[in-house]
Amino acid sequence: MTAKIAYDEVEVGTELPAQAFPVTRATLVQYAGASGDFNPIHWNEKFAVEVGLPDVIAHGMFTMAEAIRVVTDWTGDPAAVVEYGVRFTKPVVVPNDGTGAVIEVSAKVAAKLDDGLVRVDLTATSEGRKVLGMSRAVVRLA
């Protein structure tokens, strides 16, 4: 494990570079295939509306996968992530308009732990609404 960020370089409040991740219907179809999650709420608008959703929504696990990229891009080595958890609070609604939605993710160091570990708190929003809650990672730095 070789994170490119050193524990001594960061302090509580250090911000990780924020990122925005676009998501379209095509993204969701591709993610469904790669993940094996073919729930029609992620690709079939008629079905989604029938079960009470405003439109097709992104897989929660897709949003979770995008959010942690802010951490893995920061550390370089994905193995730096030793713990990662989220709560799915609001769906990411993905309209069939060619542009879709955007998931905006910011993150900062919330605590310095022992053994070169830090806790990073993530914030993920779409259309100004928080889509993940309690989104935290424990990360091993160099």
Binding site: F21, G33, A34, M61, M64, A65, P78, A79, E83, V86
Partner: protein
């Protein structure tokens, strides 16, 4: 109807091994748009100290969720899956999943709660490799929404 509390602590048999392929990892990394070379280039992964390409942190969910079908579809438990939404998800890693792994999942029901008529089910999936070493534990909270009153 509230789920039977006596299922708390129940552990299901380990799943047949899932063999993690390099190209499956590549497919997943492409689907999430992540160009980190540790996911696709064995040499880049080796430079980071890994024996082969590693998988993105959430990749393993496809394996643990499939395993949790044993719980979700247990007719004795009687969960109404058509009403289930994914509440929380957490992973605790010993090491990243990597190509060549043969992973087996052991699912345990950690907790059953009833909140405002919703059934809340916590499933822990322990993932081990073919040598029996721990790789990652997945904690999955499922919420089965109460049916609307007729």
């Amino acid at each position: 109807m509230a789920l039977d509390q006596s299922f708390v602590g129940r552990t299901y048999p380990p799943t047949a091994p899932y063999e993690v392929g390099r190209e499956k990892i590549r497919e997943f990394a492409e689907a999430i748009g992540d160009a980190n070379p540790a996911y696709t280039d064995p040499e880049a992964a080796k430079e980071l100290g890994h024996p082969d390409v590693v998988a993105p942190p959430t990749f393993v969910f496809a394996i643990t969720f499939k395993a949790s079908a044993q719980v979700i579809e247990d007719p004795q438990l009687g969960l109404d899956y058509s009403r289930v939404v994914h509440g929380d998800q957490k992973f605790v890693y010993t090491r990243p999943v990597r190509a060549g792994d043969r992973l087996s999942v052991t699912s345990t029901i950690e907790e059953i709660k009833s909140l405002a008529g919703n059934d809340v089910l916590d499933i822990r999936g322990e993932v081990h490799d073919e040598t029996g070493e721990h790789v990652v534990t997945a904690f999955t909270k499922l919420v089965s929404r109460a049916p609307e009153e007729a």
